[in-house]
Symmetry: C2
Subunit: 877 residues, 2 copies
Amino acid sequence: MAKQWVYAFGEHEFDKDLLGGKGANLGEMTKIGLPVPPGFTITTEACRHCIKEGKPPADLDSQVMQKLAEVEKKTNKKFGDAANPLLFSVRSGAKFSMPGMMDTVLNIGLNDATAAGLAKKSGNERFAFDSYRRLVQMFGDVVLGVEHKKFEAVLDSYKKGRKDTDLTVNELKQIVREYKELVKKETKKPFPDEPAEQLKLAINAVFESWNTPRANVYRKLNNIPDDLGTAVNVQAMVFGNRGANSGTGVAFTRNPATGAKEHYGEYLVDAQGEDVVAGIRTPKPVDEMKKDLPAAYAELLEVYDKLEKHYKEMQDFEFTIEGGKLYMLQTRTGKRTAQAAVKIAVDMVKEALIDKETAVMRVEPNSINQLLHEQLDPTAELKVIAKGLAASPGAAVGRIVFNAEDAQEWAAKGEKVILARNETSPEDIAGMAVAKGILTARGGMTSHAAVVARGMGKCCVAGCNAVRVDEKTKKMFVGDREFEEGAWISLDGDTGRVIQGQVKTVPPALSGDFGVFMQWADSFRRLRVRANADTPVDAKRARDFGAEGIGLCRTEHMFFGEDRLPWMQKMILAKDAEGRREALGHLLEMQREDFKGLFKAMDGLPVTIRLLDPPLHEFLPSHEELLVEITKLKATKGSAALLREKEVLLKRVEELKEINPMLGNRGCRLGITLPDVTRMQVRAIIEAAIECEANGVKVKPEIEVPLVSHVNELKFVKQIIDETAECVFKERGKRSAYKVGTMIELPRATLTADEIAEYAEFMSFGTNDLTQTTFGFSRDDAEGKFLHEYVEAKILDGDPFAVIDRGGVGKLIKMTVELGRKTKPKLEIGICGEQGGEPNSVEFCHIVGLDYVSCSPFRVPIARLAAAQAGIRHKKQ
Amino acid sequence: MAKQWVYAFGEHEFDKDLLGGKGANLGEMTKIGLPVPPGFTITTEACRHCIKEGKPPADLDSQVMQKLAEVEKKTNKKFGDAANPLLFSVRSGAKFSMPGMMDTVLNIGLNDATAAGLAKKSGNERFAFDSYRRLVQMFGDVVLGVEHKKFEAVLDSYKKGRKDTDLTVNELKQIVREYKELVKKETKKPFPDEPAEQLKLAINAVFESWNTPRANVYRKLNNIPDDLGTAVNVQAMVFGNRGANSGTGVAFTRNPATGAKEHYGEYLVDAQGEDVVAGIRTPKPVDEMKKDLPAAYAELLEVYDKLEKHYKEMQDFEFTIEGGKLYMLQTRTGKRTAQAAVKIAVDMVKEALIDKETAVMRVEPNSINQLLHEQLDPTAELKVIAKGLAASPGAAVGRIVFNAEDAQEWAAKGEKVILARNETSPEDIAGMAVAKGILTARGGMTSHAAVVARGMGKCCVAGCNAVRVDEKTKKMFVGDREFEEGAWISLDGDTGRVIQGQVKTVPPALSGDFGVFMQWADSFRRLRVRANADTPVDAKRARDFGAEGIGLCRTEHMFFGEDRLPWMQKMILAKDAEGRREALGHLLEMQREDFKGLFKAMDGLPVTIRLLDPPLHEFLPSHEELLVEITKLKATKGSAALLREKEVLLKRVEELKEINPMLGNRGCRLGITLPDVTRMQVRAIIEAAIECEANGVKVKPEIEVPLVSHVNELKFVKQIIDETAECVFKERGKRSAYKVGTMIELPRATLTADEIAEYAEFMSFGTNDLTQTTFGFSRDDAEGKFLHEYVEAKILDGDPFAVIDRGGVGKLIKMTVELGRKTKPKLEIGICGEQGGEPNSVEFCHIVGLDYVSCSPFRVPIARLAAAQAGIRHKKQ
């Protein structure tokens, strides 16, 4: 049996792979009885044949002619018949919509004879020759490859400044003649007058357009396989430009901005699709059709209804009205805002169109980020001066300051401030805390500024290269613009835009639907979701967003506070054990209160506390600053006492200096070389737990040992932890439960997870460090230097610090879970890296069987939704 | 049946686990008919029982008494019999010799009655009471725990400056009495006079000594399990101190220093073992016994012969002569120098004592290092002033200089120099090249100085903390000593000793035996051995040492030369593509000549050339130096032109600066972001290959892409390589074969080795980087900071940068081999990290099926031997 290359609309079942998106939907609409002008789809298979063999299938022509005859029958017109001509549109339709491919040729079938016939039949000569003019121009450009601007030049020579509609019939006829001459001159062949040849050439042109360089590049960029091919849709023409009872429009079955179930759409009377797009005339809301075109309006209402009942999804469709009758030309799933997506999903469940599972799958997890933050007023006019990375969402409006002290000073006076820095460091934390938003000139999506801002739920635009901050003169430069301290700017953390002046903002849209929706989502997820939080304020916010515990409390953040840093520095600079003990005593007092606050905020929920992680030099002034100061003091014969003091400091900083601090004396290495710090932290945790429990707070502390590479490190630190806890229990005469576990963030830990599990009650992946060491990429260096080029050159699909690299890092994660659970089948395993709130990574965590993900508070709802979708997607496995 | 806890010498088969080393060998000697005084061994099992149950087995006593009766029968003496007393020695004997355990108690069985009997029977009252005096002192000290110095005080009060031998019989009797009073006073119990009780207490004391703190620490440090236990040897006493026809001695069956088959040993007439050890009298060479003690000498010659024939190994033994008759007290495998080990192994094969396989197993691979370098004259007296790490072997004598320029200047004048630095950097290479040896105050076994020195085969003592170098004033301080530039010092790279003054040296002892031995070794190895070499000189040396190719040529080392660095810097600082091209053009000329030299030196053998690896900032001045210079220029209003120049340089250095350069823009990342550098290097390689082939040199270049983490990186660079090669082929009108492969040095590469193998013709493990990333340890930071503490605290068994960490890094290596060969079954895989020349690591490479190891030239023979031993050890697998 010969292969069928051509299907009439509705003849084949819904199959985007075979019929393309457009063709499949035209068929679908035909089947449910919507008024689709008849036509047929040439399959992607025919295109693939064409790509492979270099020519269309031998029997394609005859199959096309057969289907064409069916259309003639349905329309009572004849292709090429001068008396009653049938005209066709030819449109491409791949599985994925794809710019760069040939789009549309209209009015196929016109020539001098059929144009005259159309004029006669329609009683509208101008319409007929305008259509003819359009055919020659479109066909000449798209199918025959004559430059568009050459046709425009001819047209302009007639219009002489007038509008298209001002052209007379004679002028149009003259233009058609000149167009044809142009085609002959350019292509060395006459314009094909034969309708069958026009059709054949147009179909081939669509096939060939699959391999244009632009289409190839687009496919490469979007990971679309080159061998999919496109379908071709050949459809009987209907005309919206045949007078006052004709028209054309675009509509959505619901409001794509708000989600409201209302008639959303616009139309133009006496116009073709391209006129709506061109935007020369202003379209009217569809409800006005009731008055203008009442019959078509009635049909439209039925379309709304049928489409939604059939697709069970909000549709975006195009229609044309010819002589008062409505025709459907296209439908597809409508794009919508996050707010609309949530509302539509919830409403459709209420309308019994879909079930909750389907509803939960309908909202892109990342999109709900928009719902959680203040936004720039979408109606405001923006003077965008630069664009950086959308590092932390939300909007911020304030006056620029250039350092943490100024930020605090201005904020204390009640000013809204934006902290602008070349890059931030831990010492900026206090300034970041009071700022409305943060702008940095350098650093990537996981730079200090970005990570801390996300943690604080604060808007941040990072790595904005166009910005140069001169921290000394307190000025910011963007191109040749100069901004003084105190100048107003606005930031859009969702897009990375930096805007001059004070833009109005709107509050987050956490409507009731959102709550309902998230509740449904929760019912489908297996993964628990915790938050990374270091302060009671963050912890509370996380809990409000649905966090089921703290998955990572980074205790070092507690030491950068104004009241802490001096003691931390004293501890590091202590000359002897006694000096160190004194400093640690002060830090103990403060840490204990920190933990009490956290425990209270998370009453009843687990709190994972990571012991001190960063290298000590992070708490001291920078080596280079000190060098410069000392050089200056020496060169200018400055204060000898100050010089001595700085030199002592420099010496200690030099001792602590590391060539690769990321791989240096940090994490548990610090806890092993300075066990007193570990003891202080554990004491603070246990004392806080006992004091909280005395006040009826339910406390579940999980003490986490960072950066373990060998089981013996964990064993060593666990012994210190257990000894310290026992010591406190004895002092207080009370016991309190706690767990000891470890971060898994080094390849060696993953490879020996079975050994490590012997001493760990829980494990949590630190995927930032694990990604760094698995790739051998320093996050800070890679993002500023070569990572961008890697993604551009398609060496990497994306930033592995944003999305878990399943092929490498993911293998280690999988291995860890298998090895760890071999030792302890019920071992609790989570993830607390940046990727813990990224949907693709959350899905991976679900697949490999983690117990929870932990992410910054503002990403908790995203992670909840992503976990639900993963649960639904993989429920059969 | 009751368990047998006690075996007469020779009753049980040779079993060190059960009888301990000493007991097993006493039994062995008894069995082969050597004159061993009769006795018995109490098993380690009895000791283990004792440790576990807290008391000796119930039937131990009766079994001891039974074996004791057999000894009485053999000796015709009776234990405790005043008329004809039998005396015993009690000695510990664990499987591994172990300081801290009770060693020996002699003369057990003496009391007032038996001492009198011994006096009478021997006709030597002084001997009897001296023995009695020794028993009380030894027993009191070792078994009863009375402090040694208290006995010495009593003894001294009699000696009054005289020698032991000057004491009269009456004085000795008086001393025995006073000793016993001392024991009673100290232990609140009388000295045990009953021989059976003495024996029982002594046996128990040996058991208990297993658990002394010192023994425990020793076991912990040497990884000896705590539950092995020790055996106890009870042996009839023989006396070397019974006059002129008695004596005692120690001998080796061959010369342990040279390996010569000769009578090596010393003896003392009329003395006991402890007298030989005490070193008060000077022993005589054993051959003099021929005259002094002819019968015993004849027996001794038989002993030499029997021992070697039986053990087929050089023995170190102790003997005693009593009344002209020779008795054997101990034998064990003799320790020897590397030179002796080789000679003995070769000779024993020639003597048909052992086969070649056994011979090859007899030499510790690391020890042959000594044979390859100049050594300090072993007879010289040394004034050791400090001790650092034995970073690169050999000896060096020269005058100290403190920077590379001075080193070159002094060397040019014909002076021998030692380059002393706080630490070295790539800019010191030229100075290191002309120095006789290198001394650094900081840095570990894999610091720059250590690695480069080993590569150059040059003596280096690194990380010598006691040394402080003031590079500015050109002085070196060691404690309160001060050394000016030009002062003579000597270095011992085998021990890390730094010696004041000019010590004589002796040349390497590469005797003929060594050649024969290495040839045998080669016949047993499967692993090939290549060398890491960057220059023709190194390549030639490596080839002389038996290298079968170059496994790693680090091209960056070529750019640090005086003629290269300026062009490299120009390339980096170039403002445009043209400037860069010009600089690259100059580098191309030089690189091509470099490669031609290498190819010629390795004619017929493969040469693996790694493309540029280090981050570019390594070629520029340090950021901090520039900062200080600029600050100074500004503060002192120095030259504006110079300031401008420095500021431009600083800007570029800042652009290139990285937070963690080890994980930054280096390796193939550099080759991808700066493809022109890759093109230049590949062009140099291919042009050199073609030019060499034209001159009849057989060239096998292997182009190696470093630091690949994702297959696409290799794919990308391989394309550049292939395109460049094709381009050169076309220009030259000639083709030449080359391979493209990659370093495997990042965990992600190991995890995706199957994908990478698609594009790699060979793989080579860079275990330095792989260890860094697997552990998350920066080599430089870890070795200076926490690694030492980790090894001390037994968190790690040893430095993973020295010996491959089989449990972690090793797993990745194994995975790589499996994955890589799944894609390409014959994929060639090697290793070129520091560990490639370390015997334990070489064994691992053999086990996992690598094709070759590559190491610094001077380690090539070590690797060859280690590979042979691995081949023999694992040949059944």
